[in-house]
């Protein structure tokens, strides 16, 4: 640091100027690019609008419109004599009735969770008179967001993208100076920077100087600090430039990212690494990757392997099968697991209630040729024995992708090498087997199977169900008395039963299939065994204000007829989205209203009230604005969350409030999520407008709406 001599003084000044001008240039470029983007977006949008109007115009052309009888033709006199007077029949356009105001919203058929907003996105405009009357409103609003309003910051910030471009742009200034000592590109740049101002320093001081320069540049990236002032305050931060530019190299990826297994740069990695993205992003509740509803996903690593199935055809897969080859130990070994497999697969048969994790007795197996002694061998011995194989392994090249794939599959198929080979596709089972031998040290062992006596199971299950039903009744009492319904979050407390410390128990929720607890957990909801329609309190699901779970309720029909709307169970409409056709028109009461197309019967499901799921705090903040607008689409979901249909929602959001409604709302637990169903309170005729009482929905929903909406009712 003692280096800041007279010589280098010229450098920073010159560089500061350069950086400044380059920065400005880049910003401008960015602005232009942004403007172009906006332009192209606008024109493409325009195109869409034109296409739509074309459709309508086409129809209008086909119509014959009776000319209105014109009494007075419209004449235009020109002041100049050379232009003749123009006469044209006066055509009067018919007045078009205006429609109520509608703020734009996005259609949605399922709830969508959004995070709290930390900045105020726009300052609402509600007319001058409101602002005049209540000048403090906006101030308070901004205070809610700690004074942060969207679009405040304009200068002084530099993001990664601009930074990288800036450094690249600065590189050109030192292009004419040659220095080849640098190891990589960035160091080179800093060296060059140094060179252009420094004369002929010693080699080590040279490096030192470069380091300082480097630190300057690093400083640029530090957030919230002005780029130019930073030049005077070197900070020690990791070099962001290096990090950022490395990604741009073709095929180069951040270290935590596994290379594409199908790509040319596939590397041989461990199973966890190969599956890491899939494991972390998959939502076990939505069956989607990076879903819109559940911010936290449990990874399957914590899941207990509930079933170990293994598909080894007892028979060799072909003449070159590894089983044929060593003939002795392997063949015997290979047959062993097959018995397990068959029996376990039976456990997984659909519609059977037996737990997949419970192994059953080795009964009649397909393969008849195997000797049973081998069955005693536990699988974990496999690698040891395989090593004993006398044959020298063939020398085969395993690409990174193949090796990775092998490690992935071995975790699923264990020693079913034939299946693994079939899935890899490019290797024979013998090669796989040999690779397995080589890799044996790192291969995960098949988890030990905890042996439960299967005989006990059925009886226990039955008892379980009876107790559950009793418990539901009990819980129902609690449920009814308290308005507080808490959000469900799958519990995860390994090696601990679901007792009073379990979050599900404390929140008075049942454990769901998504919980990490054992499937025999006492807190689990057992589902119903109805043969009827599940629309009376006879059905434990209906009683517990839950929809039937297609994975639990296997007799009522909730798990059948996926493609038809004809399901015997009437208690699974929300999850299946079996909504009624609704039509939008100006309301008879206020603003827009929603009308039903087909008649419905009492208690029939009409639609789900969908929207953004926001936290209670966020709802408080938003509700302040909505209250001012006298229009709110907030709907309390449970103690933790609120559904807001303002920005995203479905048509039912247009249903108005009434004290004498024809619909009611019910918050139901649907496969682990609370969702709001709108049901018919009485039989509703075709074309009737739908109303529900905003106040009497469960858990005093809509605390922000009731009052204002009531005033709209005459």
């Amino acid at each position: 640091m003692g280096l800041t001599g007279r010589k280098s003084e010229k450098g920073p000044v010159c560089w500061r100027r350069r950086v400044k001008s380059e920065y400005m240039r880049l910003r401008q470029l960015k602005r232009f690019r942004r403007a172009d983007e906006v332009k192209s977006m606008f024109s493409s949008n325009r195109q869409k609008i034109l296409e739509r109007t074309d459709i309508l115009n086409q129809e209008w052309k086909l119509r014959r419109i009776q000319p209105v009888h014109i009494m007075t033709p419209c004449t235009v006199d020109s002041g100049f004599s050379e232009f003749s007077r123009q006469v044209i029949p006066l055509k009067t356009l018919n007045a078009v009735a205006s429609v109520p105001v509608m703020y734009s919203w996005s259609p949605l058929q399922q709830n969508f969770m959004v995070e709290d907003e930390t900045v105020l996105h726009n300052i609402p405009y509600m007319g001058d008179e409101i602002l005049d009357q209540d000048g403090t409103f906006i101030e308070e609003l901004i205070k809610n967001y700690d004074g942060k309003v969207h679009g405040d910051r304009e200068c002084g910030f530099i993001n990664d993208e601009i930074f990288v471009e800036l450094v690249n742009a600065l590189n050109q200034y030192s292009d004419n100076e040659e220095d080849d000592e640098e190891e990589d590109q960035h160091d080179c740049k800093f060296e060059k920077m140094d060179l252009c101002d420094g004369k002929d320093d010693a080699e080590d001081s040279h490096k030192d100087h470069a380091l300082i320069q480097l630190k300057y540049i690093k400083g640029i990236l530090h957030p919230k600090m002005k780029i130019f002032s930073l030049f005077n305050y070197p900070h020690v931060v990791p070099n962001p430039y290096k990090e950022l530019t490395e990604q741009q190299l073709p095929g180069a990826l951040p270290p935590e990212c596994t290379p594409n297994i199908d790509g040319p740069n596939a590397k041989s990695v461990q199973r966890e690494q190969s599956l890491h993205s899939f494991h972390t992003l998959f939502c076990r509740r939505c069956f989607k990757y990076d879903c819109f509803l559940h911010p936290f996903h449990a990874t399957p690593n914590t899941y207990k392997r509930k079933n170990i199935e293994n598909l080894v055809d007892g028979k060799p897969c072909g003449i070159y099968c590894y089983m044929e080859y060593p003939a002795g130990v392997i063949a015997e070994r290979a047959k062993t697991p097959s018995k397990r497999t068959v029996s376990r697969r039976r456990g997984r048969l659909p519609n059977s209630n037996s737990r997949p994790s419970t192994p059953t007795v080795n009964t009649e197996t397909k393969d008849t040729d195997s000797d049973r002694e081998g069955g005693a061998n536990s699988r974990c011995q496999t690698p040891v024995k395989l090593k004993l194989s006398s044959e020298p392994p063939e020398n085969v090249d395993w690409s990174g992708a193949e090796a990775s794939l092998f490690r992935v599959l071995i975790g699923t198929y264990y020693d079913n090498f034939c299946a693994i080979a079939r899935l890899i596709g490019t290797k024979t089972c013998r090669q796989v087997y040999e690779f397995r031998v080589k890799e044996s040290s790192i291969i995960a062992r098949a988890p030990a199977v905890d042996e439960n006596t299967p005989q006990r199971k059925k009886k226990r299950k039955h008892r379980l169900w009876a107790t559950h039903c009793r418990k539901i009744q009990l819980k129902k009492g609690l449920y009814g008395s308290s308005n507080h319904v808490y959000n469900y979050q799958p519990c995860d407390h390994p090696r601990q039963p679901c007792d009073s410390s379990c979050p599900c128990v404390t929140a008075q929720n049942f454990c769901e299939k998504f919980c990490q607890c054992s499937s025999e957990c006492q807190n689990r909801f057992p589902g119903c065994r109805c043969k009827a329609q599940c629309n009376t309190k006879q059905c434990p699901c209906y009683l517990a204000v839950r929809e039937c779970d297609p994975d639990l309720c296997l007799t009522c029909g909730a798990a059948d007829h996926w493609d038809s709307k004809n399901v015997s169970c009437k208690n699974c409409s929300i999850q299946r989205g079996a909504k009624k056709h609704l039509l939008l028109a100006p309301s008879d009461v206020a603003g827009w209203g929603i009308f039903i197309k087909e008649p419905v019967q009492k208690n029939e499901f009409i639609s789900e009230y969908c929207g953004e799921i926001i936290s209670q705090d966020e709802a408080d903040r938003r509700g302040k604005v909505y209250d001012k607008y006298m229009c709110s689409f907030l709907f309390n979901l449970n103690n933790d969350f609120v559904v807001d249909a303002t920005r995203k929602g479905n048509k039912i959001r247009f249903a108005n409030h009434s004290v004498n409604p024809n619909c009611y709302a019910k918050v139901m637990m649907v496969n682990g999520d609370h969702r709001i169903g709108i049901f018919a309170k009485r039989a509703i005729q075709t074309g009737e407008e739908l109303f529900f009482d905003y106040r009497y929905s469960q858990a005093d929903a809509l605390k922000y709406v009731g009052i204002e909406r009531e005033m709209e009712i005459p």
């Binding site: 058929q109 297994i261 911010p295 075709t686």
Partner: protein, 691 residues
């Protein structure tokens, strides 16, 4: 009566307003109004009361007046088809019994022989039945001998322009002068006594010197009228007068204007016989020609426009025929000049289907005569039903307003609907008509010794929402009832009447219900009686779009886009993984899988739908990873993995062209991924999501 001038102007031709005046003019003959019972009500009070009356009744009346006119010009329904108006139906089905389709041809053949010789053979015969002018008293009441006017008929020949001519040369050939009865009363005039005129068809032959372009008849009526300068209002006033009673008062009023009335006036009208293409325009028939006073309109109009402005007021169509000077005549092309047709007056004048108000001045005096007219104009009319009121039936309309605290009474002596002047002929029909067609009012029937009393009040629960086909709102007016030709109407199936239980017609159904509660006017058509809109664009829903639910798709476009961009944003997920995740997400969103049970089925369907794409984009191993992932989450079995991959392999083999395309697409896939990393770097990482 002068104080009601505003009302008259405001509501144009409101008929019953004239009765208001009538009633008052007669010195409150029916004093039922609380206000009018006071002998000398203060002017302001009267004015205020009248304001209230107007407030209550003006708007619906105007609406019904408008609808009446519209229905006259372009009828939507025929009243005679209504069950309770069946007596208006003059047709009989007698002919239907003998009708055979086979006879059609012979009928036409039979007709063909006759008219061929008719066209230009001999004579054009005009028989004048009368000249009608409102401002003139009917002839029989006139004291002087001005019961006829002199009519001159000229044949105008417009010739082709020759080179030297500035305009088309016109030749006028006088064909004769006749005395035509002024405002004749048909009951007294014998048919056959009408003046008639013959024009030889030779006149229409091409003449020698000029090529005649067109022929037309010019009627010129000159008469020393006693025209009242402000005749129109005057007309309105005496429209409903019982002439005999009213004559003295009217005379008094008119006498002040009498001074300028004695000048001879000339009215003209022109009708084209042959147009310039020598097409015959005037066929046999009865005509009524609207005449123009010559100093008003020096330029003769070729045809009477259906909207006329008189005294600064715009008259509704055909109104001219009811008051303006008109000439009635019968036109006939005849071969034999001796057989003059039996002239009879035009039925438009007084029959109930007349386009305008009936002429009470004539009818009132001679109800029997009216019956004659009807029966003569339609020969096949069956005998009048006995319930037809031969005796005078007086109907008192009692208008209740201002929360039924005030009332005003008008009376009528006929069974015409006061709003649409429809002759209902029976009290029952009238009441039924009022109730069904004018539901903005509530009508209650109260028997009255002299006839009937009908209490009229405003229907507060009138549902103004549209009960017709809602699609008609969308299609602009003029479309639904186009007169230009056939138009495609929106097809809407609806049962209007399904054999309703018909109670026997009884006047008691119009009595005020006992419970005193005004009968709820319920809409007869339930269902979609409004125009719906698209929820995304607020555009009107077209009828063909009715069946499509815009919400039917579980994955709206923006959500699909959102999920792809969201996955694309990850910095630490490689492009192959991203691609498979995106495909899978779209697949799940589209199909809406909800249970674990569905997953193996979902995987197989995924292979089915996206298999070729996955193979083409070289994503098979990533797909396998995805399947293993599902297996790790306990959602599928290894059997599903095996089946899915086996299916994939089959597909790969059945796509032979893949091999060469693979390399390039492989490159593009990776290249694309790289570029996307550059543009989106630093946005999100999966590690951030997982904790």
């Amino acid at each position: 009566a002068g104080s009601h001038g505003t009302f008259l102007k405001g509501s144009g031709d409101t008929k019953y307003s004239a009765q208001v005046m009538n009633c008052k003019a007669n010195g409150a003959v029916y004093p039922s109004s609380g206000v009018s019972s006071i002998k000398k009500p203060k002017m302001e009070q009267l004015q205020a009361d009248h304001e209230l009356f107007l407030q209550a009744f003006e708007k619906p009346t105007q609406i019904y007046r408008f609808l009446r006119t519209r229905n006259l010009i372009a009828p939507i329904l025929l009243h005679r088809t209504l069950n309770f108006m069946s007596h208006r139906n003059s047709r009989t089905n007698a002919k239907r019994k003998t009708f055979k389709v086979d006879d059609l041809l012979s009928n036409v053949d039979g007709m063909k022989g006759e008219p061929g010789s008719q066209s230009l053979t001999s004579h054009l015969q005009l028989t004048f039945t009368g000249f009608f002018h409102k401002n003139d008293k009917p002839c029989q009441n006139s004291e002087n001998d001005q019961n006829s006017v002199s009519l001159e008929v000229l044949l105008v020949k417009v010739c082709h322009k020759k080179r030297k001519d500035v305009s088309c040369p016109i030749k006028q050939v006088p064909t004769g002068k006749k005395q035509v009865p002024l405002n004749p009363n048909f009951s007294q005039t014998k048919s056959g006594a009408f003046p008639s005129l013959l024009v030889s068809s030779n006149e229409f032959e091409p003449s020698n010197s000029h090529m005649v372009k067109s022929y037309s008849l010019l009627f010129r009526v000159s008469h020393t009228g006693k025209r009242d300068p402000n005749g129109f209002i005057n007309y309105e006033a005496d429209e409903n007068f019982d002439v005999k009673e009213e004559l003295p008062s009217r005379k008094k009023r008119n006498s002040s204007h009498r001074g300028d009335g004695e000048t001879p006036e000339t009215f003209v009208a022109q009708m084209t016989v042959f147009d310039k293409n020598r097409r015959l325009q005037l066929l046999d028939g009865e005509y009524e020609v609207s005449m123009q006073q010559i100093e008003d309109c020096p330029v003769s109009k070729k045809r009477a426009s259906w909207e006329t402005i008189l005294d600064g007021k715009r008259l509704p169509p055909f109104e001219t025929f009811s008051q303006g000077p008109t000439l009635q005549f019968t036109l006939r092309w005849t071969g034999d000049p001796s057989t003059a047709p039996v002239a009879k007056p035009l039925s438009t004048r007084s029959s109930d289907t007349s386009t305008t108000e009936s002429r009470p001045s004539t009818l009132r005096n001679a109800p029997v005569g009216k019956e004659d007219l009807v029966s003569t104009s339609i020969q096949t009319r069956r005998e009048q039903s006995p319930c037809e009121p031969i005796q005078k039936l007086r109907i008192f309309y009692q208008f209740l307003y201002n929360n039924n605290t005030r009332q005003q009474t008008e009376a009528r002596d006929d069974l015409h609907c006061p709003w649409c002047t429809l002759n209902c002929r029976k009290l029952y029909s009238l009441l039924k008509h009022l109730k069904l067609s004018h539901s903005r009012f509530i009508f209650n029937y109260v028997p009255h010794p002299k006839g009937a009393r009908i209490d009229v009040s405003i229907n507060e629960c009138y549902d103004g929402s549209y009960v017709g086909n809602p699609q008609d709102i969308h299609s602009q007016p003029g479309f639904a009832f186009s007169r230009n030709g056939p138009v495609k109407r929106t097809a809407v199936t609806r049962i209007l009447v399904c054999r309703p239980k018909r109670t026997k017609p009884s006047l008691s159904e119009f009595l005020e219900s006992e419970d005193g509660e005004p009968e709820q006017q319920r809409t007869y058509v339930s269902g979609h009686n409004r125009l719906y809109f698209h929820s995304d664009s607020c555009m009107p829903l077209r009828p063909q779009e009715m069946e499509v639910d815009s919400e039917d798709e579980r994955d709206p476009e923006w959500l699909r886009e959102k999920t792809t961009t969201q996955i694309e944003e990850f910095t630490d997920v490689n492009e192959g993984e991203k691609e498979v995740m995106k495909l899978w997400n779209l697949h799940v969103m589209k199909n809406g899988f909800i249970s674990d049970n569905q997953m193996s089925q979902a995987s197989m369907l995924f292979v089915e739908n996206y298999g070729p794409y996955i193979i083409r984009r070289n994503l098979c191993r990533n797909f396998l990873l995805h399947l293993v992932n599902l297996h790790d989450f306990n959602l599928v079995t290894t059997a599903t993995i095996d089946r899915a991959m086996a299916h994939m392999k089959e597909m790969e083999e059945s796509l032979p062209e893949l091999e060469e395309g693979r390399e390039s697409s492989d490159a593009t896939c990776n290249g694309h991924a790289v570029s996307s990393v550059v543009s989106l770097h630093g946005k999100r990482s999966k590690s951030g999501v997982s904790d």
